[in-house]
C-alpha cells in the first residue's frame, strides 16, 4: 500500500534496474580507460567493466532460474584477482624501471 503512495511510482524492482546499473558501470569503465593515463587507474576501469558483466550474468541467471550465471560470476571474480596480480606486478616493475606509471611516458618502442 505504502509502496503505491510514494509519488505514485511502482516501486517494485525490475531486472531492468540491474541491467541499467550494468550498462552504466560498463560505460564508466570504458570512460575511465579512455580518460586515464595512470596504468593502475586503467586497471580500475577494467574492474568496473568486469563487475558490470558479472551483474549481467547474475541477473540473467536469476531471471532464467539457472545457476550458470552465478558460476560465471565466481569465475570472473577469480580471474579478475589473477589478472590484477599479474597486472600490478608488471606495473610495479615498470615503476621500478621508469619511475612513472603513466602509460604515455615510456616510449622506447615506436613505429
Amino acid at each position: 500500500m505504502i509502496a503505491m503512495q510514494v509519488g505514485g511510482l511502482n516501486l517494485e524492482v525490475s531486472t531492468n534496474a540491474f541491467l541499467l546499473l550494468s550498462v552504466l558501470l560498463f560505460s564508466l569503465g570504458v570512460g575511465a580507460i579512455v580518460a586515464r593515463r595512470n596504468a593502475v587507474a586503467i586497471l580500475m576501469g577494467v574492474e568496473l567493466m568486469l563487475n558490470a558483466s558479472a551483474i549481467n550474468f547474475v541477473s540473467f541467471g536469476a531471471r532464467g532460474g539457472s545457476i550458470d550465471g552465478q558460476i560465471f560470476g565466481v569465475f570472473i571474480i577469480i580471474l579478475a584477482a589473477a589478472e590484477a596480480a599479474v597486472g600490478l606486478a608488471i606495473v610495479l616493475n615498470l615503476f621500478a624501471l621508469f619511475k612513472t606509471i603513466d602509460v604515455d611516458q615510456p616510449n622506447l618502442l615506436k613505429g
Binding site: 500500500m1 505504502i2 509502496a3 510514494v6 516501486l11 525490475s14 531486472t15 531492468n16 540491474f18 550494468s22 550498462v23 552504466l24 558501470l25 560498463f26 560505460s27 564508466l28 569503465g29 570504458v30 570512460g31 575511465a32 579512455v34 580518460a35 586515464r36 593515463r37 593502475v40 586497471l43 580500475m44 576501469g45 574492474e47 568496473l48 563487475n51 558479472a54 547474475v58 541477473s59 540473467f60 536469476a62 531471471r63 545457476i67 552465478q70 558460476i71 560470476g73 565466481v74 571474480i77 577469480i78 580471474l79 584477482a81 589473477a82 590484477a84 596480480a85 599479474v86 600490478l88 606486478a89 608488471i90 606495473v91 610495479l92 616493475n93 615503476f95 612513472t100 606509471i101 603513466d102
Partner: protein, 199 residues
C-alpha cells in the same frame, strides 16, 4: 534473502528503498572512479563501488557470490590495487599531470558505449523475449527468490559436477598468475652479480 521473503507492503517499501540506496551508491562510486583527480580517491571509490555490487548480488539472491565478492574482490583485488596506487605514489602523474585533455574523450567514449547498450539491455529488455513467466517484462525480486535454486548448495553442486573442469583449470590459472607475479615482483638480489647463462 530475508528481505526477499518478507511480503508485507512495508517491507516491500523498505526493500525498494534499500535497493535504491545501494544502486545510487554503487553508481556514484563508479562515477567517482572515473572523475576523481587523485588516483587514491579513485581507488577508494572503487572499493565502495565493488562493495555496492556485492549488495546488488544480495538483491539478486546470490548470497554466496556476494560474500565471495566482498572477500575476494573487495578484500583482495581492490586492496591489491590500492597497494599498487600507494607503491607508485611518487609517480609524477599523480601530482603534475591531470587527465584533463582526455576527459572529453573519456565522456564521449562513455556515451558512445552506453547508448547502444542502453537500447539493447534496458530499452528493449533483452530477456523479455525469452522469459515465458513474466509476460509484461517486469520481474520482481520475490519472483526471483522463488525461482532461483537454493543458491549456495546449487552453486557447490554445479561447481563440482558440470563445472568441475573449469574449476580445476582455474586453480592452474591461479598457479600461473602466482608463479608469474612472484617472479616479477621478487627482490632483485639475483641481478647484482653475473647471471648464469644457458648453454
Amino acid at each position: 534473502m530475508l528481505l526477499a521473503e518478507a511480503n508485507t507492503p512495508v517491507t516491500d517499501w523498505i526493500y525498494t528503498l534499500v535497493f535504491m540506496a545501494v544502486f545510487v551508491t554503487t553508481l556514484m562510486a563508479g562515477l567517482w572512479v572515473v572523475i576523481a583527480r587523485d588516483v587514491i580517491r579513485a581507488g577508494v571509490s572503487l572499493f565502495i563501488c565493488l562493495s555496492g555490487v556485492a549488495g546488488i548480488y544480495f538483491f539478486l539472491n546470490a548470497q554466496f557470490l556476494a560474500v565471495v565478492q566482498i572477500m575476494v574482490y573487495v578484500g583482495g583485488t581492490t586492496v591489491l590495487i590500492l597497494f599498487g596506487v600507494m607503491l607508485t605514489n611518487r609517480a609524477p602523474v599523480l601530482t603534475s599531470r591531470r587527465a584533463t585533455d582526455r576527459t572529453l574523450a573519456g565522456w564521449l567514449a562513455t556515451v558512445i558505449v552506453a547508448a547502444p547498450l542502453f537500447v539493447i539491455l534496458v530499452g528493449r529488455d533483452l530477456m523479455e523475449k525469452k522469459d515465458v513467466k513474466t509476460a509484461n517484462g517486469w520481474f520482481t525480486m520475490k519472483e526471483a527468490a522463488a525461482q532461483a535454486p537454493i543458491n549456495t548448495v546449487a552453486l557447490g553442486d554445479a561447481l563440482l559436477t558440470s563445472y568441475i573442469l573449469p574449476f580445476e583449470i582455474a586453480s592452474l590459472v591461479l598457479l600461473v598468475a602466482l608463479v608469474g607475479s612472484a617472479y616479477l615482483a621478487r627482490r632483485r638480489e639475483d641481478e647484482s652479480g653475473i647471471e648464469g647463462r644457458l648453454s
